[in-house]
C-alpha cells in the first residue's frame, strides 16, 4: 500500500531545508554521543588507579589554618564528623586521636638520638599493615608502634648528616626506642617497638587502648577531639566530595585530588559540548518539522482526498512518518560510527600506553543513540498526525 500513496506526497526532492536538517541531526547526534563517550573516558582515565588492596582511597583532612583561626580550637567536633560521614562519597571516616601529654623518644646508646615526639591512634581497620602484635593492655611495658614509611624515608635523608645510621624497613623493628612520657604525676618510661611500616598513614601510630589509657593517666583527659580525620572513599577525586571539602574549608592532600579537579573542569567542558549537541538536535528536528509542514501543506489536496476515500488518519500518519525511518536510521548509524571512530582515535593517539579504555563505545552511548532515533520518528509521527487532523 505504501508505494501507491507516496507519489501523492508532494515531497520536493530538492528541498534544501530537508538536507540541512538531516545534516544538523547528524552533527548534533555526533556531538551528543561523543561528549557522552568522552565524559565516560575521562571518568575512567582519571580514576586513581593504584591497585589498592581494598579498592578504596584513604585521605586525611584537617581544618585549614588561617590567620583568623590560628590559636583557636581547630579540632573536629562530633557533629562535624557525623556530617562528613553522611556524605555519599564517604564510606567511613574516623578520627586520629593524638597524645595530650609530652612524649620524648630516644634510641638508647646504639643510636644517639633523642627527640620530642607525637603519637596518634586510629581504628585498626584504617591501617594498611596491622600485625597481630599491635595490641596493648594496661600494665604492658612494651608499646607497639606503626611508623610511617614516609617518616623513615625522611629520617634516612637527614641521618648521615647527623652521624646517625640509616635504617632499612627491616632493621627499624629491632631498634629499641625508649618513650618517656611526662605527666602530672611524673615521668614514666615505656619500651617502643616498631612492628610495621605504613604507606597509608603519615603518623606514628600506637594502639587505641594505649592512647586512651595514656591520655587519661598523663594528660588527664578522657575525650579528645581530633584535629585530623581519615576518610575512606571509593574515589578521592569524586568532584562532589571535593566541593564538599572545599565549602567546609577542610584541607586535604592536594596531590591525591588534583586529578579530581582536572576531571571536574574537563567534564564541565564536555558536558557543555553535550548540551550544545542537544541544542543542535532540537534545531534540526524543528527544521525538519517545518519541512514536513510544508510538504503536508503542498500535498493537502491529495491527503484530503485519501481521507475522503476512507484512509484512516492514524494509518496515514504512520505511513507518512515511516517514510523517513530509513533516513533517520542511516543518520543515527552514521553518527554512531563517527563517534566510534573519534573514540578509537582518542584511545589510540592520546593514551597509547594505557589499556584501561575499551576500544568500543560504552553501552549507554548506544542506548542514547537508539533513544534519539525513536524520539525523532515519534516526533515526526505526532507532527504528521496533528497536521493531518488540521486539514480534514
Amino acid at each position: 500500500m505504501v508505494q501507491t500513496i507516496l507519489p501523492l506526497l508532494n515531497s520536493n526532492k530538492n528541498n534544501i531545508s530537508k538536507w540541512i536538517s538531516y545534516f544538523g541531526l547528524g552533527i548534533g547526534v555526533v556531538l551528543l554521543l561523543s561528549s557522552m563517550q568522552m565524559f565516560i573516558n575521562i571518568n575512567n582515565l582519571l580514576k586513581e588507579n593504584n591497585p589498592k588492596k581494598t579498592g578504596f582511597d584513604f585521605i586525611s583532612i584537617t581544618k585549614v589554618i588561617t590567620n583568623d583561626n590560628m590559636g583557636k580550637d581547630n579540632t573536629f567536633k562530633d557533629d562535624e564528623l557525623t556530617e562528613i560521614k553522611s556524605q555519599p562519597a564517604v564510606q567511613d571516616a574516623v578520627p586520629l586521636i593524638s597524645n595530650q601529654y609530652r612524649v620524648k623518644a630516644s634510641a638508647g646508646t646504639v643510636i644517639p638520638f633523642s627527640t620530642d615526639l607525637f603519637l596518634e591512634s586510629i581504628d585498626d581497620n584504617f591501617i594498611d599493615t596491622v600485625p597481630p602484635t599491635f595490641t596493648w593492655q594496661p600494665g604492658q611495658q612494651t608499646v607497639p608502634i606503626i611508623f610511617s614509611s614516609d617518616f623513615l624515608e625522611l629520617y634516612n635523608v637527614f641521618a648521615p648528616s647527623q652521624d646517625l645510621p640509616q635504617l632499612s624497613g627491616k632493621t627499624i623493628s629491632s631498634v629499641n626506642i625508649i618513650l618517656e612520657i611526662y605527666g602530672a604525676t611524673g615521668v614514666q618510661n615505656f619500651k617502643g617497638n616498631i612492628v610495621a611500616l605504613s604507606d597509608r598513614i603519615n603518623s606514628i601510630l600506637v594502639p587505641k587502648s594505649f592512647m586512651q589509657w595514656s591520655n587519661q593517666s598523663f594528660g588527664g583527659v578522657s575525650k579528645v577531639n581530633p584535629s585530623r580525620i581519615y576518610i575512606k572513599t571509593k574515589d578521592a577525586n569524586d568532584p562532589k566530595l571535593i566541593s564538599f571539602l572545599d565549602t567546609k574549608n577542610y584541607h586535604l592532600n592536594k596531590d591525591k585530588t588534583k586529578f579530581g579537579r582536572i576531571k571536574k573542569v574537563l567534564q564541565n567542558i564536555v558536558s557543555a559540548l553535550g548540551v550544545f549537541g542537544i541544542l543542535v538536535i532540537v534545531l534540526a528536528l524543528m527544521l525538519f518539522s517545518f519541512y514536513l509542514q510544508l510538504m503536508i501543506a503542498k500535498s493537502k489536496e491529495n491527503l484530503q482526498l485519501l481521507l475522503t476515500l476512507g484512509y484512516s488518519p492514524n494509518w496515514l500518519s504512520k505511513t507518512v512518518a515511516k517514510t523517513w525511518i530509513p533516513v533517520y536510521v542511516f543518520v543515527v548509524i552514521a553518527a554512531v560510527a563517527i563517534t566510534a571512530l573519534l573514540h578509537l582515535s582518542f584511545v589510540k593517539i592520546s593514551f597509547v600506553e594505557r589499556n584501561d579504555l575499551p576500544y568500543f563505545l560504552h553501552w549507554s552511548v548506544l542506548v542514547v543513540g537508539i533513544l534519539l532515533l525513536l524520539l525523532s520518528v515519534f516526533t515526526n509521527y505526532r507532527l504528521v498526525k496533528k497536521e493531518l487532523y488540521k486539514i480534514v
Binding site: 500513496i5 507519489p7 482526498l305 476512507g310 484512516s312
Partner: protein, 213 residues
C-alpha cells in the same frame, strides 16, 4: 442496516427553499437493499445532502444516524472505517488524483478494503469502454471517461449504501445503461442500496422509490 434522516435542514437554507421538499425537514429511513432515486433540480441542495450523508459536511440541523448512531458523533477514525466497509460514493466533482494513472486511481481505493481482485478493474473498464485508458493519467481523460473511472472506483470496496451524485451527467445513453447495469449488479451482489441523485427523474428507476428534494 438503516440510514435515518430526522428533520435535516441545511443551516444556510431559507424557509421557502425547503417547502415542497420530500426530504428536507422530514423523517426518512433508507433501508439496505432498497434503491432510492433523489430528484433534485439545481439549487435544491442535492450535493449538500450527499455530503451530509457521507460525513463531509456538518452544517445542518437535525440528525442523520447510521444504525441509530448520530454520525456527527463519529470520530475521524470511525468514519474512515465506515467509508471502507459500509459507504461508497461517486462525487459529482469526481475527485480523482489527476497526476495518477486511471488504474492507480482505482487501485488506491481497491487496496484499502478489497472486495474485488485487481483483475476485476480491467474487466469493468472493458465493460464501460475505458480499458485502453487504464495506463493514462486521469487528467488526460475526458470528463465522461473520468465519470466512468469514478464509478469503477466506487465499486471496488464492500458497501451497504452507494451514494451517486449525478454520475451520468456526461455519459451518452448507451454508456449510461452499461454503467447502470454494472452498478445494479454490484449492488445486488452486496445486497446494497444505491442512493442516486440527479437533476431529472431517470427511467432506470421506474417502480423504485423516488423522492423529490
Amino acid at each position: 442496516m438503516q440510514i435515518l434522516l430526522q428533520q435535516i435542514i441545511p443551516t444556510y437554507f431559507e424557509k421557502e427553499q425547503i417547502s415542497g421538499s420530500e426530504i428536507w425537514d422530514k423523517n426518512i429511513t433508507f433501508s439496505k437493499g432498497e434503491h432510492l432515486h433523489i430528484v433534485a433540480p439545481s439549487g435544491s441542495g442535492k450535493t449538500s445532502l450527499i455530503h451530509f450523508l457521507y460525513g463531509l459536511r456538518k452544517d445542518y440541523e437535525g440528525t442523520i444516524s447510521y444504525e441509530k448512531e448520530n454520525i456527527k458523533n463519529f470520530s475521524l477514525e470511525k468514519f474512515s472505517i465506515f467509508r471502507q466497509k459500509n459507504l461508497s460514493i461517486v462525487f459529482q466533482d469526481l475527485r480523482l488524483f489527476n497526476d495518477q494513472t486511471v488504474k492507480e486511481n482505482i487501485e488506491l481505493k481497491r487496496q484499502l478494503n478489497p472486495y474485488h481482485l485487481p483483475l476485476k478493474i480491467n474487466e469493468m473498464a472493458k465493460r464501460l469502454g475505458i480499458a485502453n485508458k487504464l495506463n493514462r493519467l486521469a487528467k488526460t481523460c475526458s470528463y465522461g471517461e473520468q465519470q466512468r473511472i469514478a464509478i469503477i472506483r466506487s465499486l471496488m470496496q464492500p458497501f451497504g449504501f452507494l451514494l451517486l451524485d449525478e454520475p451520468f451527467s456526461n455519459l451518452d445513453e448507451v454508456n449510461r445503461s452499461k454503467a447502470f447495469e454494472l452498478i445494479k449488479e454490484e449492488c445486488k451482489q452486496r445486497n446494497a442500496s444505491m442512493i442516486f441523485a440527479d437533476l431529472k427523474e431517470l427511467e432506470f428507476f421506474k417502480g423504485e422509490r423516488i423522492l423529490k428534494l
